[in-house]
Amino acid sequence: MIDFAPFLLSFKLAGITTLILFMMAIPFAWWLSQTDSKSKPILEAITALPIVLPPSVLGFYILVVLSPNSALGGFFEDTFGVKLVFSFTGLVVASCFYSLPFMVQPLQNGFESLNTHMLEASYLAGKSKLQTIRHVALPNMKPALITALIITFAHTVGEFGVVLMVGGSIPNETKVASVAIYEMVEVMEYGKAHIYSGVMVAMSFVVLLLVYIFNHKQKKIGIV
């Protein structure tokens, strides 16, 4: 009998992470797309770090920062009674760092690809930056939006190293699908590992296929 709890936990983690990152990344990606600030390349490099860093390095630093002995971890535990390591909350925080570039970069590219005059026309129509983002920018960059949402979701479902270091493997709390597969291989339950891995491969393929089909259709009808 297949235990679907790790999959459900992976989807829950990916859903919450995607939602949080979406809300945070829109203003940040907009700012990056509009600014000439000297700090822009520094912030872009920091944002992209999770792409090049080994997950163990990232996981190690997140573990250090979130542990109860650190200022941040201690503050959360003392003030809100929330443990940020070996807990689902900690996984969400770690995933937000890990998946940050997968949300920010497509959104920034989307904002940068917009016709500047179109945004200016919105300001000339008396609209604020917020109204312009909501009514003009975002609806005109749907492929970038869909790519950011789906790739962030899929990437979070597939994360392993950071999750293992920050969350460990607590059933129904931090034991997500990728960790479950690792444990099955460790105890040589290859049959189960095949099923879990097959589900992950199929799901990832379907998600990517949907993104490409959507973007292809958008290009065909000329929205891009």
Partner: protein
């Protein structure tokens, strides 16, 4: 009355130059700005719209616009590349500026675009797009209408249609208008006054008859 006294360093077609413009424009006047590419015409429009900063002052009816943001200037602006909101229909483009359905219908009727009001702007021809852009610029009944080469991307027939619509709108609404144009014939047809910029400085400023000379076969060129 519009009083402009601005200075701005620019990288023009012939290297570094300074835009230095000091002019008064009467209420309801139709001014055509002419001059070579890179002479500062578009920059002057953008400074008036609040889209770029410059030293000096712009006064409208005695009130300084220095600290007035673009959103509060109540300007109509027609871009060379239309800059329509691609995610909206023709009517939605107009109503986004102001929810005045009666006035939007009136403007679309005047430009014979009523039949296209529910069409997506992506499906329109260049000439139709520019007429929608003109209607959109008029939606907030602007004190000042700025047009950056609105006719240059159009073929001869469409140019003449739009030219007559611009003239019709100016006659009906009496809006103070500044239009950038390379086309001496359009300038002669539309302008009350022509200003010629060269390297950021005003080289000629006067009535169309004093600035343009009529050559054979109704071709107008700049007088020497």
């Amino acid at each position: 009355m519009l009083s402009i006294d601005i200075r701005k360093a620019l990288h023009g077609s012939q290297g570094q130059m300074h835009l230095d413009v000091n002019i008064d424009i009467k209420q309801g006047e139709f001014v055509v700005l002419m001059g070579e590419s890179g002479s500062g015409k578009t920059t002057l429009l953008r400074v008036l719209a609040g889209l770029e900063k410059a030293e000096g002052e712009v006064y409208v009816e005695g009130n300084s616009w220095t600290n007035v943001p673009t959103q509060q200037r109540g300007i109509g602006f027609v871009f060379q590349d239309y800059a329509l909101f691609d995610n909206m229909t023709v009517e939605e483009n107009l109503l986004f500026v102001k929810r005045d359905e009666k006035f939007a219908r009136e403007l679309l009727e005047l430009t014979e675009l009523t039949g296209l009001s529910t069409h997506h702007v992506k499906s329109l021809s260049g000439g139709q797009k520019q007429r929608v852009a003109l209607c959109r610029a008029m939606m907030n009944r602007p004190k000042l209408l700025l047009m950056d080469e609105p006719l240059s991307a159009l073929d001869v027939t469409m140019r003449q249609i739009l030219q007559s619509e611009i003239k019709k709108f100016h006659k009906m609404f009496g809006t103070t208008t500044i239009m950038v144009s390379h086309d001496a014939e359009s300038a002669y047809t539309l302008a009350d006054r022509i200003i010629v910029l060269e390297q950021g400085k005003i080289m000629k400023d006067g009535s169309k008859d004093s600035v343009l000379k009529k050559e054979e076969k109704i071709v107008y060129t700049l007088s020497s």
